[in-house]
């Protein structure tokens, strides 16, 4: 079992992750079609702005957004999502493993930095759990499934932190860490973790009032 988790299951998880996402992308493009414009899209020529005007414009554009309404959650969620992706990719230990198996690796962050960033991710994760447990507006739409997703997202970082500091039985913690990572990869395309990909599709490709881009597609 240990060998399976630390061996064959790793490529299987990556393949399911990649194929699952490809399947979801194909499905998305089959379900949506190119938007037919009934009128030419409004094109406004950007006026030349000085730096101070540009900064003032950026600050003004935050009015009424989540940055103004709930800055704490916005900062926590932004930090969490950025580091959730960056930490595992630029972790020295992961890159050494990549180098040993495939002979290639990415640039790595110093271990002291990734250690701190892992704590930051764990603080964010604890914050989200606190919201789910104690904020009535979040609790009212929370199900067991949400807690399960929370565990799937938190487990790789918690076990990774334990493994790095060699707390508890190293071998067991490492196996659980690898398993947690595999479970996360496998579940991303098929659960609400899929918003990792669909956030970009919904906000950039589907055209509506809150799109970041023009939005060239429609359902």
């Amino acid at each position: 079992m240990y060998d399976f988790i630390r061996g064959q299951l790793i490529p299987v998880a990556f393949v399911i992750f990649a194929l699952g996402l490809i399947f979801q992308i194909i499905q998305f493009f089959r379900l949506t079609r190119k938007k037919e414009w009934g009128y030419p899209p409004l094109e406004i020529k950007p006026e030349k702005k000085t730096t101070s005007k540009w900064v003032a414009f950026c600050l003004a554009s935050l009015n009424g957004t989540l940055w103004e309404i709930d800055p704490l959650v916005t900062i926590m969620t932004s930090v969490f999502h950025v580091f959730l992706i960056l930490v595992p990719i630029f972790l020295l230990g992961h890159n050494i493993l990549l180098d040993q198996s495939w002979g290639l690796s990415l640039w790595s962050l110093p271990e002291s930095i990734t250690d701190i960033l892992t704590i930051v991710v764990l603080i964010c994760v604890a914050f989200f759990l606190g919201r789910r447990l104690f904020l009535s507006r979040v609790r009212v739409i929370t199900t067991v499934y949400d807690y399960l997703i929370w565990v799937i997202a938190a487990a790789p970082f918690l076990t990774g932190y334990f493994a790095y500091h060699q707390w508890f039985n190293y071998d067991t913690v490492m196996t659980v860490h690898i398993l947690a990572g595999e479970v996360m990869l496998i579940t991303i395309p098929f659960t609400k973790l899929g918003h990792m990909l669909f956030f970009f599709f919904y906000r950039f490709l589907i055209g509506n009032e809150y799109s970041f881009a023009k939005g060239a597609r429609t359902w």
Partner: protein, 133 residues
């Protein structure tokens, strides 16, 4: 008892309607992170002293979400319950903002369409304990 309340629910028709938009709607429902960040964008939520049942996500989950969960096998009692959520608690102004990009008004509008197909909608002479707006 009015004709509206007597008519049996055509669960097959509901299932058919749900299936037709399954690709879009189930995707939206399954990608909702249940974060509640859409709450403040709803003026009814703000006007009702931040009552969670006016949150856009709550309205989508407890209307269309329930219809999908039950795969259309619903009774008139549930449809009447959903009626209050999609008509009284939402005016479909389209101002709800989801950070992930889920288009909540289309979900509420679709729930209304399903309810209307079963003749469940607010009547002009309906007596309600509270205002519909």
């Amino acid at each position: 008892m009015s004709d509206q309340e007597m008519k049996p629910v055509d669960t097959k028709q509901i299932k058919g309607m749900l299936d037709r938009k399954k690709g879009k709607m189930k995707r939206y429902l399954s990608h909702c992170a249940h974060c509640s960040l859409c709450a403040e964008s709803c003026f009814l939520y703000m006007a009702h002293h931040k009552d969670p049942q006016y949150m856009p996500s709550y309205k989508a989950i407890y209307s269309l979400g329930r219809l999908y969960k039950k795969r259309g096998k619903v009774d008139r009692k549930l449809l009447t319950e959903i009626k209050g959520i999609v008509w009284r608690n939402c005016v479909l102004c389209g101002r709800c903002y989801c950070p992930i990009g889920i288009h909540i008004p289309s979900m509420i509008a679709f729930a209304r369409t399903i309810l209307r197909s079963q003749d469940v909608y607010p009547q002009l002479d309906e007596v309600s304990s509270e205002s519909w707006l």
